[in-house]
C-alpha cells in the first residue's frame, strides 16, 4: 500500500521542525513521533482527559483532537518548552513540585500547559475561576487538592 505524506512545518518551543507526515497524523503523534517530544502524553485520544494539552499560539488545545497539518505555521508550546532553561523551572512547574501536585506524573504535562496558558492570559484569575479551568483535565492520583493549591500559588508568584 502506498501512503501519501505531506510536508508540514511546525514551530515547537521556538524550534522549527520540517516533517513529512500522513495528513491523518494528529498533532500529538507528530510531536511525539516526529519531533521526539514525548512529554505530551496520550491518556484517552478522544479529547476528555487533557493529558495531551499543548499551547497553540498561546491557547490550550487537545493535541489528540487536531491534525498536525492544522498546526502548520502555528507556534506550539509543549511541556518541554515551559521552563526558561535547564537550571530553572517555570513558576507553575515549581509550584507543582513544592506543593506535591503530581504523583504518577502522566497527566502533569497537560495540567502544566493548561495552567500556564491560562495564567499567562489571565494573571488575575481567582480560585473559583481556576477550579473551572482545572476541571478541563483529569488526574487519577492526586484528588486535585494539591493541584489547586499549586495553581493558586503559581498564580500569586506570576502576579509578582
Amino acid at each position: 500500500m502506498t501512503r501519501s505524506t505531506v510536508p508540514v512545518r511546525l514551530y515547537v518551543n521556538g524550534d522549527r521542525y520540517d516533517i513529512d507526515i500522513e495528513p491523518r497524523r494528529t498533532l500529538a503523534d507528530a510531536l511525539r513521533e516526529d519531533c521526539a517530544l514525548t512529554g505530551t502524553h496520550l491518556g484517552c485520544e478522544h479529547g476528555v482527559c487533557g493529558a495531551c494539552t499543548v499551547l497553540l499560539d498561546g491557547q490550550p488545545v487537545r493535541a489528540c483532537l487536531m491534525f498536525a497539518v492544522q498546526a502548520e505555521g502555528a507556534s506550539v508550546r509543549t511541556v518541554e518548552g515551559l521552563a526558561p532553561d535547564e537550571e530553572t523551572l517555570h513558576p507553575v512547574q515549581k509550584a507543582f513540585w513544592e506543593h506535591h501536585g503530581l504523583q504518577c506524573g502522566f497527566c502533569t504535562p497537560g495540567f502544566l500547559t493548561l495552567v500556564t496558558g491560562y495564567l499567562e492570559e489571565h494573571p488575575e484569575a481567582q480560585e473559583d475561576e481556576l477550579r473551572d479551568v482545572l476541571s478541563s483535565n483529569l488526574c487519577r492520583c492526586t484528588g486535585y487538592q494539591n493541584i489547586v493549591t499549586a495553581t493558586m500559588s503559581a498564580a500569586e508568584e506570576m502576579r509578582g
Binding site: 502524553h41 496520550l42 491518556g43 485520544e45 476528555v48 504523583q103 506524573g105 484528588g143 487538592q145 493541584i147
Partner: protein, 795 residues
C-alpha cells in the same frame, strides 16, 4: 563537640526527588520508549460476543495476522490457589475455539505503525457462533446455568471460590440478641482506570537472543516469572523493566495476555514489537472490580452491642482468574476482613466468587474493602436508627479498643486508634452544630446529611498473610503453581565516593518511593537524601521482589531498607572506630561523617568508603572490601485506621449529591513524608467519591460493555472533589519496624461508606437509604420519586 541534635529526614514533607524530570516532560513511560523506535506495532482483535465458538478468523493476505494457532507450544496462564473450594481455570494467551467475554483477545495484527495496525484491524473478520452467556452471578450459579468454563465445579455451577467460617458460639449469640438488623449492600463494576493505559515494548537483542520488555507494571519480577512460565523459557531470557508508570491502583499487578503475545512475537520474529493499549481496550479488557452483593445480618443487644455477624457475600469475578493473586482475591478478602475494626465475637460467613461472561476482575485499590466497609457502616447506621442510638455512640460501643485483638477469621489487629480517630472525627465535624444546620435546612426544603465511616486498612502484609488464604492440599506436587506474595529485599551499597545506591524489589508507580526510601536511608547513615539513588523496576538490576500493591511498599520495602541501612551503618561505625579509636557504639553518623561522640573527632564517610574499596589493607576485616548490606523483611502485616466524615447536600429534583465537607481522622503510624501520605489520602478519597457517586461499568443485556470511553465512564474532575481536611494520629505499632503503616488504599476504602451514610442521612425524612453504589443522580432520583409516590398513596 557538636551537641545539636541532627534533624531527622523522616517526618519531613520534603519535595520529591522524582519530580523535576517529570515536570519538564522528561519522564519516560512505555509509549515514550516505543516512540521513534523502528518496531512493529501490534493491535488486538477482540471478541464482540460475550460467549461463543470461533468459526473462523480471516484477513486479506497483506495483513499479518496472529491467532491462537500461531501460539502452539505456549502454556495458558494458570492462577492457582491451594484450597478445596477453589476451581482453577486456564486462560489461553489468545482465545482458542471459545470466547468468554466481550473484549477478549482473539487475534493480533502487526504493522509498521500504530495507524497501519489500526487499519489492519478493520480488515480482520472474526466469525463467532454465539452461545448462551451468563451475565450475573445470580444467573450463573443457578442449576442448569451455562458454564463459562467446561470444567468440574464441586459446588454450584460456575462457583470458583466458596469460603465459609462459622464460629462455635454463633447460633447461641444470635438467639440471645434483642434485635436482628439486616442490610443488603452492593456495588457496580468499576475500573481502576490509570490515566496511562497498558503498554508494552519488547526489544530483541540479536547478540544474546534476549528480549527486554518495557511494560507498565506494578510487579516486574512476577511478570517475568509469569511470562517465562507461559513461554516455557528460562527467566534469564527475558529482562523486564517498568519505567515511569502512569498510575496503577492495582490494575497493573495482573499479568496481561497481551504482554505475553508481545514477548513471543519479539522472540519469534526477532523484531522489536510495541503494543499501546487504547482507552476503549482498557475499559473492555484491563480488569474490572467490585461487582459484589453482600447480605448482612447483625445481631445486636438493646444497648447496641454487635453480638454476632452473618454475611452471605457474592462476587462476580468475570470470565477468568487473574495472575498471580487469583479471582479468590475479592471473596476471600471480604470473608477474612468483613468485621473490620469492630469487635465481632461470633461470625458466620459464606463468601463466593462466581464466573460470568464479563471481563475478569482483578485487584483495584481497596479490593473488596470498600464494599465491606459499606456493609458494616450501613449496618451500624441502620442499627443505630432502629435502636434509637446515635451513630457515633453505636460505633464507640463496638470498635476494638484493646490490642492485639484477634478477629473471628484469625487476623490479629495490632496497635491502632479506632476510638481515638472516631472521637477526633466527631470533634472535627462538630455534630451538634451540623444537626442545627440540618434542621434549619430541612425546614427550608433542603436535604443535608452527615455520614461516618470507621475502618481498618490491612497493610504491609507478607508471606504469612497470603499463605493464610490457602488451605494446602497438595504440597510437594510436581507442577505446583501457587503464588504466595511476601518478602521484599533491598541491597544498599555505598560506593567509593560515599554515595549510596539502594536497589529494591518493590516497584513504585507514583507513590514517591524513591524519595521516602531515601529519607529512611539518610537517617540511618547520616547523609542527605540527594546522595541516595534508588534503583527499581528492572529485573536485571534489582533483587527479586513482589512490587508495589496492597499498601505494602513503605511497610515492607521500607522495613527492608531500614534493616539494610542499619547494617551498613553498623559496618561504617566499625570502620570508623578502627580509624578514630573508641568503640563502634561511640560513633555517630552525622552530616556525611562518622564522629566520636566523646571526643568529637570525625572522618568523612567518603574517606572511609574510598579506603574500604581501594585500600583494603587499612580496614579491619579485609575479607569484605565492599560496603553493601542486604535487607529482607516479611512481616505479617499492620492495620492502619481512620474515620471519614462526609457532609452532603442532595438536590431532590435532580438527584445530584454535592459534598460540602470531607473530613479525615487518620492513623497510618509514623509518617515518613507527610506530604506523600496526604497525597495518597487525597487521591484515594477522590477514587472513593468516584466509586460512591459516579463510576460504573455497564453491560447491556447481550453482555456488551457500553461504557467504553471517558464520556460514558465518569471519573471525577476537580469540580466533583471537595476540599479534604486531614488530621493525623501516629500510633507506633511493633508490627512495622519503621513504625509506618500503609496508607495507599484507605481513602478509597472509607469514603464510599461515609458518602452512602451521609446521603441516607440527608434523605432520611423521605425514608430513603442508599445501599447500592454508585448513588448516581438517576438512581437517587428514582428512589426519591418512588418515595414521594408512596407518600402520596399513603395520604
Amino acid at each position: 563537640m557538636n551537641t545539636a541534635e541532627p534533624r531527622s529526614w523522616t517526618g519531613r514533607a520534603m519535595p520529591r526527588l522524582e519530580d523535576p524530570a517529570i515536570l519538564r516532560g522528561w519522564g519516560r513511560y512505555v509509549a515514550d520508549v516505543a516512540a521513534g523506535d523502528d518496531c512493529l506495532h501490534v493491535r488486538f482483535v477482540r471478541s464482540s460476543h460475550a460467549a461463543g465458538r470461533i468459526r473462523s478468523i480471516s484477513a486479506p493476505a497483506h495483513v499479518t495476522l496472529v491467532t491462537a494457532a500461531d501460539l502452539a507450544g505456549l502454556h495458558p496462564i494458570r492462577a492457582v490457589l491451594d484450597r478445596p473450594d477453589y476451581v482453577t481455570v486456564a486462560t489461553p494467551i489468545l482465545a482458542d475455539d471459545v470466547v468468554r467475554f466481550v473484549g477478549e483477545p482473539v487475534a493480533a495484527v502487526l504493522a509498521p505503525s500504530e495507524a497501519e495496525a489500526e487499519d489492519a484491524l478493520d480488515e480482520v473478520v472474526v466469525d463467532i457462533e454465539p452461545l448462551p452467556a451468563v451475565l450475573s452471578a445470580e444467573a450463573a450459579s443457578r442449576r442448569d446455568a451455562p458454564l463459562v468454563h467446561d470444567t468440574e465445579f464441586p459446588g454450584d455451577p460456575n462457583t470458583v471460590v466458596d469460603g465459609r467460617i462459622h464460629t462455635p458460639g454463633f447460633d447461641e449469640a444470635v438467639a440471645s440478641a434483642d434485635r436482628i438488623v439486616t442490610v443488603q449492600v452492593g456495588s457496580s463494576r468499576q475500573s481502576a482506570m490509570p490515566l496511562e493505559a497498558r503498554a508494552s515494548h519488547a526489544a530483541y537483542d540479536r547478540a544474546t537472543g534476549r528480549v527486554t520488555l518495557h511494560a507498565t507494571l506494578q510487579m516486574p519480577h512476577m511478570t517475568r516469572t509469569g511470562i517465562a512460565d507461559c513461554l516455557g523459557i528460562p527467566e534469564d531470557d527475558l529482562r523486564v523493566i517498568s519505567p515511569d508508570v502512569g498510575g496503577g491502583f492495582g490494575a497493573k499487578m495482573t499479568l496481561a495476555r497481551e504482554d505475553i503475545v508481545v514477548v513471543h512475537l519479539s522472540r519469534t520474529l526477532r523484531r522489536n514489537i510495541a503494543w499501546i493499549e487504547t482507552r476503549e481496550e482498557n475499559f473492555l479488557g484491563a480488569w474490572h472490580s467490585r461487582e459484589q452483593v453482600y447480605d448482612i445480618e447483625g445481631a445486636f443487644s438493646a444497648a447496641g452491642e454487635l453480638l454476632a455477624l452473618r454475611g452471605d457475600l457474592v462476587c462476580d469475578v468475570g470470565a477468568y482468574s487473574c495472575y498471580p493473586v487469583t479471582f479468590g482475591v475479592e471473596p476471600l478478602m471480604a470473608m477474612a476482613e468483613l468485621p473490620g475494626c469492630y469487635r465481632v465475637r461470633e461470625y458466620s460467613v459464606r463468601s463466593r466468587g462466581i464466573l460470568t461472561n464479563k471481563c475478569p476482575i482483578a485487584p483495584y485499590r481497596g479490593v473488596s474493602r470498600p464494599v465491606q466497609v459499606l456493609a458494616m457502616e450501613r449496618l451500624m447506621d441502620v442499627a443505630a436508627a432502629e435502636l434509637g442510638l446515635d451513630p457515633v455512640q453505636i460505633r464507640r460501643t463496638n470498635l476494638v479498643g484493646e490490642f492485639p485483638h484477634r478477629t473471628p477469621s484469625g487476623l490479629v489487629l495490632d496497635d491502632a486508634s479506632h476510638l481515638e480517630t472516631l472521637q477526633l472525627a466527631a470533634d472535627m465535624a462538630d455534630l451538634a452544630e451540623f444537626r442545627e444546620r440540618q434542621r434549619a435546612a430541612r425546614e427550608a426544603g433542603r436535604y443535608l446529611g452527615i455520614g461516618f465511616s470507621s475502618f481498618a486498612e490491612r497493610t504491609g502484609y507478607g508471606t504469612p498473610a497470603f499463605a493464610a488464604r490457602s488451605v494446602p492440599m497438595t504440597l510437594g506436587r510436581e507442577e505446583i503453581a501457587t503464588v504466595t506474595p511476601g518478602a521484599e529485599r533491598v541491597i544498599c551499597t555505598m560506593d567509593p565516593s560515599g554515595g549510596v545506591t539502594l536497589r529494591i524489589g518493590a516497584s513504585p508507580h507514583g507513590q514517591g518511593l524513591r524519595t521516602t526510601l531515601s529519607q529512611v536511608v539518610s537517617d540511618a547513615l547520616g547523609i542527605e537524601p540527594s546522595s541516595v539513588r534508588v534503583i527499581d523496576s528492572d529485573t536485571d538490576t534489582t533483587p527479586y521482589g513482589w512490587g508495589s500493591f496492597a499498601s505494602r511498599a513503605m511497610v515492607i520495602a521500607g522495613g527492608a531498607t531500614l534493616i539494610a541501612a542499619r547494617e551498613l551503618a553498623e559496618r561504617l561505625r566499625v570502620l570508623a572506630a578502627h580509624r578514630l579509636g573508641g568503640l563502634p557504639d561511640d560513633i555517630d553518623l552525622v552530616e556525611g561523617h562518622a564522629r566520636r561522640r566523646d571526643t568529637g573527632e570525625e572522618i568523612a564517610l567518603r574517606v572511609l568508603a574510598r579506603d574500604t574499596y581501594h585500600n583494603a589493607q587499612l580496614i579491619p576485616d579485609k575479607g569484605q572490601p565492599a560496603l553493601e548490606a542486604v535487607g529482607v523483611y516479611d512481616p505479617a502485616g499492620t492495620f492502619a485506621n481512620a474515620c471519614h466524615v462526609a457532609e452532603v447536600e442532595v438536590d431532590p429534583d435532580t438527584g445530584e449529591v454535592r459534598i460540602e465537607r470531607f473530613l479525615v481522622a487518620e492513623d497510618a503510624g509514623r509518617l515518613v513524608n507527610p506530604a506523600v501520605v496526604d497525597g495518597q489520602i487525597h487521591g484515594g478519597i477522590a477514587q472513593g467519591i468516584a466509586n460512591a457517586l459516579y463510576e460504573e461499568l455497564i453491560y447491556d443485556e447481550r453482555g456488551v460493555l457500553v461504557t467504553t470511553s471517558l464520556m460514558d465512564y465518569l471519573p471525577p474532575t476537580v469540580a466533583e472533589i471537595p476540599p479534604i481536611r486531614i488530621a493525623h494520629l501516629e500510633t507506633i505499632s511493633p508490627a512495622s519496624i519503621t513504625g509506618a503503616k500503609g496508607v495507599g488504599e484507605g481513602g478509597t476504602i472509607g469514603a464510599p461508606a461515609a458518602i452512602a451514610n451521609a446521603v441516607s442521612d440527608a434523605l432520611a425524612p423521605l425514608g430513603i437509604g442508599v445501599f447500592h453504589l454508585p448513588a448516581t443522580p438517576h438512581r437517587l432520583r428514582t428512589m426519591i420519586r418512588q418515595a414521594s409516590r408512596t407518600k402520596e398513596a399513603a395520604s
